[in-house]
């Protein structure tokens, strides 16, 4: 017998979790965009979109975040460290690609230096993935060897049941079990069948692409210039990507006092690699686009044994000139 969480009980669950001290976060459709945001009621959540416009990463790695404040006095320097806001949260209704994105970035943020901002939030968050029953032209999780019902990065997996009346609950981790124990009174044993997860066609052969990228001869291939000629170097693809993780550290203030902040940065910008001398080792947009692809499918897996892409498709969906990882890898697999 499967355990079901019926959607008409979601309001009660949200109330329960909240009274247990958890912040409840989930997909929300705002007037202008959709994103993951904190809600007070279950009915504020919106499960209709294929994928929120903005990715899950910003709840763990916000676009700007204070790290330290400093005051320089005559004979001393005072610093105060910021810590991320504490408190447990449950993120209800992530997509498999977004949750996978977190798992992909874990080794990066914990590699030579353990990023406490990332890990504090990771440890305090319960991730509840809902398997996808819809996709669009840009979804490509399967091309990345993931799936619409991947459990990667998730603590609980929910599978929608017919007529969207609720979800079959599959607890995956201890953290997930604890969070769902809070609402156990609303979980009913019932033989409802799950809606089959959506079939996402494979768009390219990843192994072929990776082999091509690993061949050092192709670093200087003419392909890079051709494919990226129309790239305008906006950073939308990197900023919306659930796995792109580059940041810059900046002191904001004056010589005597200010705040040190950690801000998103992007390999699409010329400034990203500009040296103080004025020399730029990645002086063209094609070199920058090559870097993005190489980083995701060659350097990152070389170091962490996982590709830095979960196939959410946001980079292609949002690109103002209709580029993206999909097209580039499709073209590479044809070479």
């Amino acid at each position: 017998m499967t355990r079901i969480l019926f959607s008409d009980k979601l309001d009660n669950c949200v109330a329960k979790w909240r009274s247990a001290g958890l912040t409840v976060i989930g997909p929300v459709q705002e007037e202008a965009i959709s994103r993951y945001a904190a809600v007070e009621k279950g009915t504020d959540l919106s499960f209709g979109t294929v994928l929120p416009d903005r990715s899950l990463k910003e709840l763990f790695f916000p676009q700007t975040e204070p790290m330290t404040s400093y005051t320089i006095k005559k004979n001393e320097i005072e610093t105060t460290d910021f810590t991320p806001p504490q408190g447990k949260r449950i993120i209800f209704g992530t997509r498999a690609c977004d949750a996978s994105g977190l798992a992909i970035d874990d080794p990066l943020f914990g590699w030579d230096y353990k990023d406490e901002f990332w890990f504090q939030r990771r440890n305090e968050s319960v991730i509840v993935t809902i398997a996808c029953t819809k996709s669009d032209d840009f979804c490509m999780c399967t091309s990345l060897k993931l799936a619409p019902d991947s459990t990667k990065g998730a603590d609980v997996l929910l599978r929608p049941i017919v007529k969207n009346k609720g979800w079959i609950v599959e607890e995956l981790t201890e953290r997930g079990r604890e969070a769902f124990a809070i609402i156990s009174e609303y979980l009913l044993e019932s033989p409802e069948p799950a809606i089959p997860t959506v079939i996402v066609p494979e768009k390219f052969n990843l192994d072929t692409c990776v082999a091509w990228l690993q061949n050092p001869e192709n670093f200087d291939s003419k392909f890079w210039k051709e494919i990226s000629m129309r790239c305008i170097g906006c950073a939308s693809c990197t900023y919306l990507c659930p796995t792109c993780h580059c940041f810059d550290i900046q002191d904001e203030g004056d010589t005597y006092s200010g705040i040190r902040r950690k801000n998103w940065d992007s390999c699409s910008f010329a400034l990203f690699t500009m040296h103080t001398s004025g020399h730029n080792p990645r002086s063209t947009q094609s070199a920058r686009w090559r870097q993005r692809i190489m980083h995701k499918f060659n350097y990152f897996p070389g170091k962490f044994s996982v590709n830095s892409c979960s196939g959410c498709g946001r980079c292609s969906r949002q690109c103002p000139v209709d580029m993206g990882i999909t097209e580039t890898l499709q073209e590479i697999s044809k070479l």
Binding site: C234, Y239, R261, E327
Partner: protein
């Protein structure tokens, strides 16, 4: 269809006889409703050209890609009237030589696309002057009127809310043909003039800097608005600034390749004592 076919033939001819080295146009995109920029250098590439009412992007920014025009060879480009105005501004601001640009003009009403007569930017001057006299499209937008009715505090709150979504990706800047500065003020980091942080203050700083720098230069092509990944209605800001400049200085950006830039020119007999 007819317009598209004719232009394909024209582009092929001009490429074959060496009049242009490249034409910048549109081709099919990854979904049926998408178009993407196309760089035509061969006859086969010319066959990929698509020209229909969904070709919206103002492509003129590609012309100032470093090195493209430095060999003094001509480049063709598909432009709507707004794009043609961009060429005038880029020429007036010494970013390119207008005679190097071969214009394939087009416009659309509903789904119908029609060609615009002319090849050199000077030949469009009558058309552009007519556009100046027409009421601007944007005033039809309900959001525009909602903002017009607000008092200063409400307007401030409205934009604060909108800018709070900004992620400082600078897609608006990169998509804008007028944002060609080799080093944007936000990239000047010795010292850092503008905070890089994408918090409310930082977002305000950025969006206000951009609005001012585009006053009297924006042609309302909509590139920034379409590029913004968080759907901030940037067109309304730039439109409003364009209206101010039109009212205050009778300046309509991009009328001719020698038009004086309104906020970068100086008159000895100016009645104002303060220059921004």
């Amino acid at each position: 269809m007819i317009t598209q076919e004719r232009y394909r033939t024209t582009v092929k001819e001009l490429l074959a006889n060496g009049s242009i080295k490249m034409a910048i146009g549109y081709r099919l995109g990854s979904t049926p409703d998408r178009r993407r920029p196309l760089f035509i250098r061969t006859s086969e590439e010319a066959d990929q050209l698509v020209l229909d009412s969904t070709c919206m992007t103002n492509l003129s920014g590609y012309l100032v890609t470093e090195g493209l025009l430095s060999d003094e060879k001509k480049v063709g480009i598909f432009l709507r009237p707004e794009g043609i105005r961009s060429i005038n501004i880029l020429a007036a601001e010494y970013q390119l030589n207008a005679d190097q640009i071969v214009i394939f003009g087009f416009d659309s009403t509903g789904r119908d696309v029609r060609p615009l007569d002319g090849r050199n930017v000077g030949e469009f001057s009558k058309l552009l002057n007519e556009i100046k006299e027409h009421p601007l499209q944007i005033v039809k937008e309900p959001l525009h009127w909602r903002i017009e009715k607000m008092n200063a505090k409400e307007r401030f709150d409205f934009w604060q809310e909108e800018f709070s979504r900004c992620i400082k990706c600078y897609a608006c800047r990169q998509a804008c043909p007028m944002c060609y500065c080799r080093r944007c003020i936000v990239d000047s980091n010795q010292p850092q003039w503008i905070n890089t942080s994408s918090h409310t203050l930082g977002n305000f700083e950025w969006n206000i800097v951009r609005a001012f720098h585009l006053s009297g230069r924006c042609v309302q092509c909509g590139n920034c608005d379409r590029a913004c990944p968080v759907n901030i209605p940037l067109r309304l800001i730039n439109q409003r600034m364009a209206n101010e400049v039109l009212d205050g200085f009778d300046h309509f950006a991009g009328l001719s390749p020698t038009q004086e830039p309104v906020l970068a020119s100086f008159k000895k007999d100016d009645t104002e004592t303060f220059i921004l």
